[in-house]
Symmetry: C2
Subunit: 220 residues, 2 copies
């Protein structure tokens, strides 16, 4: 679209790659805050325990960002990565489920800094509808999702309700034309047609820690 | 230790591998619930969009689980994976921070099913200490972490408080001898000596969805 937007290639990019781009962006945020102006892929890899060849390969896919003998310009690469990830225009998010998890996510401070805006919460319970999260996010009736979703230009829906209500919530979201879903409900769900569904399974991280505890014991 | 426990090799296993083991376990749970008795790596890969060669490689690292011409016995492989991940004995968890996120995690239904038990919440606020989560998890004074941690045999600490309090909470945890930390606070933290720190950055998943939305637009 705009001249500055890097070309988006037609081959699909794996989720592992986009996750790594997010990690690189996180590193560049740290470097930029520390007023580092340029960094080589080697130094980036060493400082953040990454793989230099992988960094070069991942970034080369989206264009020529490195400068021979200098490396990457931190501010410029950061700006490019934010464009590639679609963060430069801000991404508006609605959360379905205004329980503890939904309210915690609505006020999560990390989101705002990264270009995400939580613009609405939705619930089915009468005593929640019309109230606000501590941070000021309004709770709407889930039956108004389509109307509010359009008005607030919601592009990602977060499912934070009970597991039993998750599939219905996803269908509501898809019917309203929202095409990306981040799901926190445990269980296996079917992505509605035309939507991208990403599930956060919190147990995966705990299992990884549990594994390291077992490993540690074997070493003792 | 016990005869059935698979050998744990001395080379370090990457976090990507343990994450994949968690995913395989999740798939086997689904198959077991559907009363599937055996499955080949090929069928497992097709059904859950995984890579068959990667499955065989990951599992071969921990022993000989596959049977030629049959594949894997679902129940048996599930039991082995739970052992490898240290879930067979149950893993006891304490959560530091009894705000919305801490309370949501304490009552998250997915944990219990997978062998994790949330046994205590901790906070610094007087009006929270002594109360319980909706699911019945007691909230203790964070100053009693060491005492309660020992009594409740806490092995993993989850940091769910405000970012400003996270480093102090991690140090409290490490001083009490708890060696694994799952952190939800945004920011960059230093793992205390002798502990394994895993941070959940919720923005990574949102960025991945944002990227797919940008990609989608390019296709239209």
């Amino acid at each position: 679209m705009s001249e500055a937007r890097p070309r988006v290639q037609t081959e699909p990019v794996s989720e592992l790659t986009t996750n790594r781009l997010s990690v690189y962006l996180r590193c560049l945020n740290v470097l930029d805050a520390a007023e580092v102006r340029t960094i080589s892929s080697q130094a980036l890899a060493e400082q953040f325990h990454l793989n230099a060849a992988q960094i070069r390969k991942d970034l080369a896919y989206f264009g020529e960002f490195g400068v021979r003998g200098i490396g990457y310009y931190v501010k410029e690469l950061r700006r490019h990565l934010r464009q590639i990830l679609g963060l430069d225009r801000g991404v508006r998010i609605g959360i379905l489920g205004a329980g503890n998890l939904g309210l915690a996510l609505a006020d999560y401070p990390g989101f705002r800094e990264d270009g995400f805006a939580i613009v609405a919460l939705f619930d089915t319970l009468k005593d929640k509808i019309g109230r606000r999260s501590r941070g000021g996010v309004q709770i709407y009736d889930i039956r108004d999702f389509k109307k509010i979703g359009r008005r607030e230009a919601i592009r990602i829906a977060v499912i934070a309700g009970p597991a039993g209500a998750a599939q219905a919530a996803m269908n509501t979201v898809a019917a309203a034309g929202v095409r990306a879903i981040l799901n926190f409900s445990p269980g296996t769900f079917k992505a509605p047609r035309g939507t991208k569904l990403k599930s956060m399974d919190l147990t995966v991280s705990l299992e990884s820690l549990s594994f390291f505890l077992v490993q540690g014991e074997a070493d003792e």
